[in-house]
């Protein structure tokens, strides 16, 4: 909200500097987002009369204008065309420096000399108007040679751009900001000058008003103004409006906007001649009704919307023929708009139910200055004061105006200002400090709260403070106001302590260890998009159920990922394009399954009031690595997993070749990681399907190793491992080492044979695979697996015969899997 300092000063004395005021406003929570110093650089600009306009030979865009600015004729080259001889316009003479630092110099073109510049309102930063020269005759009775600022009755000004928080409906106007300042600074808040009705006939003799649905419209006042003459606003009011960021339109519309900016009450002027039976009523819109709004869009009314619990309620203003004139509090219709021909005005100043306005405004995607205020809550007691201020302002340009007596004032349901009980101890409990009772009362009364009693106080909110609630919540609201005006910076600080220790959970610690391990093994951590396209999703789960975003920014970002593989391969490809493909990338994050496809759909509270159970997508935390360095492949992936498993103390997970691996993995070079005891699947290792690499990257594809771990399962295993923290002391006796090579069928897993060997004799300490051989010397469908076997005993040095018998036991056990010793 833009507020000129001069306007604030009408309500409260302010002699602070701009910087001081900015700091005070910030500290009040009225954050100053910008300060604009305007009207500077206009000191040399004067009023000039156009005496003669001539064409310049050879120029068709500019003309030579002779003006008089009080010191004789001056020739000036001008490109505007919106003026005639006799008009008065602003002249910036040679030497003047316009706002923005533009210095006016004598210039010669096409053989003529220009001795200054005739200005548009925008060039003077007085408004956005750049249609042509600023025609002063439209706004003042000009005097040739008079300084422009004096002629317009304006001074240099400062405009604060203030961000008003959502819980401060009262502060969304000049008076509201002034009230905060006055209270903080301990100064008086002045009241604005108000008109009183001057015609004796009662308004009801001319017009009528009514509320059909009191829950939607809490108050409807209608003032009848006769003898209205629609013309431009006086210069100082037009300028005030311009400084506040609104465009002057006509005295009637401007007065309405000025009152809204000044007091916070939106009003709506209707041309009485176009309101059937001069009647305004507020009621619920009925299904099937439509309204063509000022933006020329025909809108269906009373149509349920998408929002949670949105039944489609609209409040409309209708005329005496029950025709819809406008969407109450949001936007009017074209039919009863003010025009130059308007002579009688019905001025609506009302209170509408904030939630109704909020829903309608959202559903119709219509926001206006009025709806923004009504949806946050306009002071229900403000309507007639606003009307009086409207008339006061309009009279300046329309002295013949008559305001009929006894404005119509219909009442519906209005919120009652809450009264809360506040103890001094409540302040201590919330703020951690005592605030003097006198200060509390001073602050609250400054903000128009009514304060009764001492301790406890009985505090009643002013009607403007619709944000203040009742009971405990209201007490918190009142305490915030006291703290805010007292000053947050004056409140104490204390660092609390408590007996409970700070700590990470087991899962969080393991996650860190895992992350560190893969980084230490050469992985660069990436962050790929959570949202992808349908095509991305189909690459790994063609046609599968997916979780979609209803309102994506783009279709490529409309589906929650089911895997991080696509993102990582793409990220690798991008790096490879830059010649940086020798890299391993990894990401630790969540992937999502549609509740219908989830292993364990998540159920949570949802719906209005949290009253129903909703099935939400399963979120599965995973770690996915894509290994793209020169010699990386499925073997590297297995080795990397093996290192990770060792580091995390996970020992009983085996690499099981898969007949039909998940999409995205190489169909003949991938394996599952399975916990032997429970068959829990920890993840996959292998390579990326070469078809997928080809689809996703634009460089020459290469083998990309993959490790994809389900952390929800892995962390169960690490939690189990954490329980078993006992370690054994190795044998002190010498170790015997032998190698055994077996010919074994392809269907036998190397790890299973190793397991059999481990169990075959007590003295086996360790079995590790060191060679795999296939060749013509071996029968088809078999391979040779060579193991390195370590024997030891805790009791003695093993003799040769001990070793030999152990060896025999191992060979015998191996035969159980069909393995024969390779000769």
């Amino acid at each position: 909200m833009k507020i000129p300092l001069s306007w604030l000063k009408e309500f409260v004395d302010l002699d602070e500097s701009v910087d001081e005021l900015t700091a005070i406003l910030d500290d009040l929570g009225l954050v100053v987002e910008g300060v604009d110093i305007v009207g500077e650089g206009l000191g040399d600009v004067v009023v000039a009369r156009i005496d003669e306009v001539r064409a310049i030979e050879g120029a068709d865009r500019v003309r030579l204008v002779t003006v008089d600015a009080g010191a004789g004729p001056l020739e000036i080259v001008c490109g505007a065309t919106n003026f005639a001889e006799g008009d008065h316009v602003p002249l910036a003479p040679v030497g003047a420096v316009l706002p923005g630092g533009f210095e006016i110099a004598q210039r010669t073109m096409r053989g003529v000399t220009s001795n200054g510049m005739l200005c548009s309102a925008r060039e003077l930063r007085l408004s956005d108007d750049h249609e042509g020269l600023f025609l002063l005759d439209e706004v003042i009775t000009p005097i040739v040679g008079q300084p422009l600022l004096a002629a317009l009755g304006i001074e240099a000004d400062v405009v604060f751009d203030i961000s008003v928080e959502g819980n401060r409906p009262d502060a969304w106007c000049v008076r509201g900001v002034a009230r905060d300042l006055a209270t903080r600074l301990g100064r008086d808040l002045r009241s604005p000058a108000l008109a009183t009705p001057d015609a004796t006939e009662p308004s009801s003799s001319y017009a009528s008003a009514g509320i059909d649905d009191p829950d939607l419209c809490g108050r409807l006042t209608v003032s009848v103004l006769r003898g209205v003459a629609v013309r431009p606003s006086p210069a100082h009011l037009a300028r005030r409006l311009t400084l506040a960021g609104m465009r002057p339109i006509s005295n009637v519309v401007d007065a309405s906007n000025l009152v809204m900016l000044e007091l916070g009450q939106p009003t709506h002027p209707y041309d009485a001649a176009h309101v059937a039976r001069r009647t305004l009523r507020a009621r619920r819109a009925r299904p099937g009704e439509t309204l063509t709004t000022l933006d020329d869009v025909e809108r269906p009314l009373a149509k349920p919307g998408r929002g949670l619990g949105d039944t489609g309620e609209d409040c409309v203003i209708v005329d005496g023929d029950d025709r819809v004139l406008g969407l109450a509090g949001i936007m009017g219709g074209a039919s009863s708009e003010i025009s130059d021909a308007t002579t009688d005005v019905l001025l609506e100043a009302a209170f509408f139910d904030p939630m109704t306005i909020a829903r309608s405004s959202k559903r119709h995607a219509l926001r206006s200055e009025a709806s923004n205020r009504f949806e946050r809550g306009v002071d229900p007691q403000l309507a007639l004061e606003a009307a009086a201020r409207f008339v006061q302002l309009l009279r300046e340009s329309n002295p013949e105006l008559r305001w009929m007596a006894e404005p119509l004032d219909e009442r519906g349901e209005l919120p009652a200002p809450p009264t809360v009980t506040l103890r001094e101890s409540d302040l201590v409990r919330s703020l951690g400090v005592e605030i003097e009772a006198r200060e509390v009362r001073r602050i609250l009364e400054g903000l128009d709260f009514t304060v009764d009693g001492t301790d406890p106080w009985s505090v009643t909110a002013p009607s403007a403070r619709l944000d203040v609630r009742s009971a405990a919540a209201g007490r918190a609201d009142v305490i915030e106001e006291i703290a805010r005006l007292h000053g947050y910076s004056r409140l104490p600080r204390r660092t609390p302590t408590w007996p409970e220790p700070g700590a990470l959970s087991e899962r969080q610690r393991t996650r860190r260890r895992l992350r560190d391990t893969v980084v230490d093994l050469g992985v660069h951590e990436a962050w790929t998009p959570t949202l992808g396209s349908d095509e991305d999703f189909d690459l790994l789960a063609a046609g599968g159920a997916r979780v979609r975003i209803t309102n994506p920014l783009a279709s490529e970002e409309s589906v929650l990922r089911s895997s991080m593989l696509v993102g990582l391969v793409r990220a690798w490809g991008k790096n490879a394009e830059r010649g940086l493909g020798d890299v391993a990338l990894g990401e630790l994050g969540n992937v999502f399954s549609h509740p219908e496809a989830a292993r364990a759909p998540r159920h949570t509270r949802g719906g209005a009031g949290g009253g129903v159970s909703l099935a939400l997508p399963e979120e599965n935390e995973r770690l996915t690595l894509v290994l793209g360095r020169a010699d990386d492949d499925a073997r590297t992936a297995v080795a990397l997993w093996s290192a990770v498993a060792t580091r995390l103390g996970v020992h009983d997970v085996v690499v099981r070749t898969l007949a039909d691996p998940p999409a995205g993995l190489h169909p003949t070079r991938a394996a599952q990681l399975v916990e032997r005891g429970t068959n829990r699947v920890v993840g996959y290792v292998g390579e990326v399907d070469p078809g997928l690499v080809e689809t996703l990257v634009s460089v020459t594809p290469r083998r990309l190793g993959v490790v994809d771990l389900d952390l929800d399962v892995l962390f169960e295993l690490t939690a189990d491992a954490a329980l078993d923290q006992f370690v054994s002391v190795p044998s002190r006796y010498p170790v015997a080492i032998i190698d055994l090579a077996f010919v074994v069928g392809d269907e036998v897993h190397a790890v299973d044979l190793a397991e059999v060997l481990m169990a075959a004799a007590d003295v086996v300490e360790d079995v590790s695979l060191f060679d795999v051989y296939r060749g013509e010397s071996l029968p088809a469908g078999t391979r040779s697996l060579a193991y390195n076997v370590r024997f030891s005993s805790a009791e003695k040095t093993l003799s040769e015969s001990d070793v030999a018998s152990a060896r025999d036991a191992l060979i015998a056990a191996a035969s159980g899997l069909g393995a024969t010793l390779r000769s």
């Binding site: 819980n167 805010r484 700070g502 719906g607 949290g610």
Partner: protein
């Protein structure tokens, strides 16, 4: 009647189809392509010969020929698909590797270190500061119901305050009932509900995590971002404790010469509420472009738990009080490391990642 150039057409088509079926490998089929469907096909010669026909006959003959070409081309494409699949199967089969037989000790990998993600590393530093201050760390889901993300946080449906968050809605259940969380605050609600159910109050916890806002990415914002939220529910907790925790954290994370200040603000889930600002980390408070000459930059929001939130989760506000605060992890990283454009965080360019250790 002279014999039509198409008299032998069905024989030609049969020949061509046999040729298609006869191709046993993809390379054979592709080598034959010009003679089956290409320029050197009999069909192309026939096409040229149609020129000799009378105009009234030409149209009908053209259509007949077109249909024949369609049949042959379809067969060709189908055969190509089959042979391609066969070739892929053969290639994959030739590539087969039994990963159970990998001898790990024989795998040679380059000796290289990687780099942690800048966001994850920043998150860890922040967690460590808070753990040292006595906080636990809690995780929460990224997809939430309207109840957790909004309503339990005192933001009822259609409330104008919802405009503070540009929300991605998830297409599940009734419209606008499921969202990508717009902040980490819903995790507060989960924590409080769980603690009430289990009778384990007090709570002192921080909740880091990924959030989403429907915002076109630019140098300062990403549609996905990371926040860390803090929640304390205990006896006799006041605004002074909140201000003290913020100040202690600010010193611990940003350094002894950086301090904090609070200024009034509005959040539906806290009352009184505040924005917290810290000394500008660029100019150390002297005033610069980053802080608009004020010497302060905004970091996050905080406040005392609103009675409506305590009520929603069933905590007795007479016995317990508390505060919450939250701020952006990415933003901390941006300030600490002077990242000129946030989009670098999701580009995954190795040249960016490598700078961070």
């Amino acid at each position: 009647m002279t014999s039509s150039p198409l008299a032998e057409l069905s024989t030609h088509v049969q020949d061509l189809l046999a040729r298609v079926r006869g191709a046993l490998t993809l390379s054979d089929l592709l080598a034959d392509e010009p003679f089956i469907v290409g320029k050197r096909s009999i069909l192309s010669s026939l096409q040229k010969s149609l020129g000799a026909l009378a105009p009234e006959d030409r149209k009908e003959a053209g259509a007949t020929l077109q249909e024949a070409r369609r049949v042959v081309e379809e067969a060709f494409v189908e055969r190509r698909r089959v042979l391609e699949a066969l070739r892929r199967a053969q290639e994959l089969e030739a590539d087969r590797l039994d990963l159970g037989d990998v001898v790990v000790s024989q795998v040679r990998t380059p000796l290289a270190v990687g780099h942690p993600g800048i966001v994850a590393a920043t998150q860890r530093e922040l967690e460590d500061v808070f753990v040292a201050m006595g906080f636990t760390v809690s995780d929460g889901p990224e997809v939430e119901s309207d109840w957790y993300n909004f309503e339990a946080l005192n933001i009822p449906p259609a409330h104008p305050a919802r405009g503070m968050w540009d929300t991605f809605y998830v297409d599940l259940g009734e419209p606008e009932t499921v969202v990508l969380r717009t902040h980490t605050s819903p995790t507060q609600i989960h924590l409080m509900e769980e603690a009430v159910a289990a009778g384990t109050l007090p709570i002192h916890s921080v909740m880091p995590g990924r959030c989403y806002r429907r915002d076109t990415p630019d140098a300062r914002h990403l549609a996905a971002f990371h926040q860390i939220e803090g929640l304390v529910v205990d006896r006799d907790i006041t605004f002074a404790d909140l201000a003290g925790v913020i100040e202690t954290f600010t010193h611990a994370y940003f350094g002894a010469d950086i301090s904090s200040r609070l200024r009034p603000a509005f959040f539906p889930f806290t009352e009184p509420s505040a924005e917290f600002e810290i000394t500008c980390t660029i100019c150390r408070g002297d005033g610069c472009r980053t802080c608009s000459q004020t010497g302060w930059i905004e970091l996050g929001g905080c406040g005392m738990l609103d009675p409506a939130v305590l009520e929603a989760v069933g905590i007795d506000g007479e016995q317990w009080s508390g505060f919450a605060f939250g701020f952006g992890i990415d933003r901390c990283a941006q300030m600490r490391h002077q990242i000129a454009d946030m989009r670098a965080l999701i580009d995954n360019d190795v040249r960016f990642l490598r700078q961070f250790s």
